[in-house]
Symmetry: C2
């Protein structure tokens, strides 16, 4: 793994992570009907911090292999969708519209994971928790839309 | 240039570009005091569309050269800051806070441009208009904060 690259990728994650602080969950979110399998609140920041470290390490490792261009390009796509999702969901409170960047995030994370596996087993493996988590996050986004249809298009309060 | 990579990078730009549609300028922005050198409104989408094409082409070209990892990692950083800035400025209307992602964007765009130049003249050159534009955008963000200090911290209207 290239530690300089790890640090650069971690800065990109920092921009994505900043959305969590800038667009926090509010009373409107707490009041939503949640699915029974909704993870407890403390899980989210812990999961994201762990995933940011893992996805940066995976990219910094993948970059040391020949033919890494496609995987690194897909990594750029996923971090852009990652940064986009939070302002749409928690900023605009448009849960239904947020399914679009969520779909983009899921597809780009899964594609990055698969392409990283073709380069190196460990780089791919470090992306597996991210695929799992984004699958959970996508299912949660969808469940919240279905359980709260009257506010899924957005609300001003 | 690798056209497959160009397309993948363009998808990342699409996520960034979506912020322009999701967090549009509103009456509050129109009412701000502007510097005399403020570009006309139509310039912004034209400039961004051109820059998204250029930055994707630059990355797809840079990726074909040996030792492109650092430049491509920096490209990931800039697209994340690019996606972050609009929701902070136009979504939260926090013009002063938006100077932080703007600084991150300027630094990462300039660094990407410099590193691309070390790989290939044309890849670097395709990033020069982006450096120029982000310098203008950063100066405009700063001027708007200085000209409208009473609302630069955010407003609810």
């Amino acid at each position: 793994m290239d530690y300089g690259l790890f640090f650069v990728y971690l800065i990109a994650c920092g921009a994505a992570a900043a959305t969590g602080a800038l667009f926090p969950t509010g009373a409107w979110y707490m009041a939503l009907k949640k699915p029974v399998w909704n993870p407890p609140n403390w899980v989210f920041p812990v999961a994201w911090m762990s995933l940011y470290l893992l996805m940066s390490a995976a990219a910094a490792r993948a970059a040391t292999f020949e033919g890494a261009s496609l995987g690194l390009a897909l990594w750029s796509v996923q971090i852009a969708f990652n940064t986009l999702w939070t302002p749409v969901f928690f900023g605009l409170k448009r849960m239904r519209a947020a399914l679009v960047p969520m779909a983009g995030l899921w597809l780009s994370v899964t594609a990055t994971c698969l392409v990283f596996f073709t380069l190196d087993f460990w780089a791919g493996l470090m992306f597996v928790p991210y695929v799992v988590w984004v699958t959970v996050a996508g299912a949660l986004n969808l469940a919240l839309v279905q359980l709260n249809p009257e506010v899924a298009g957005g609300q001003t309060a």
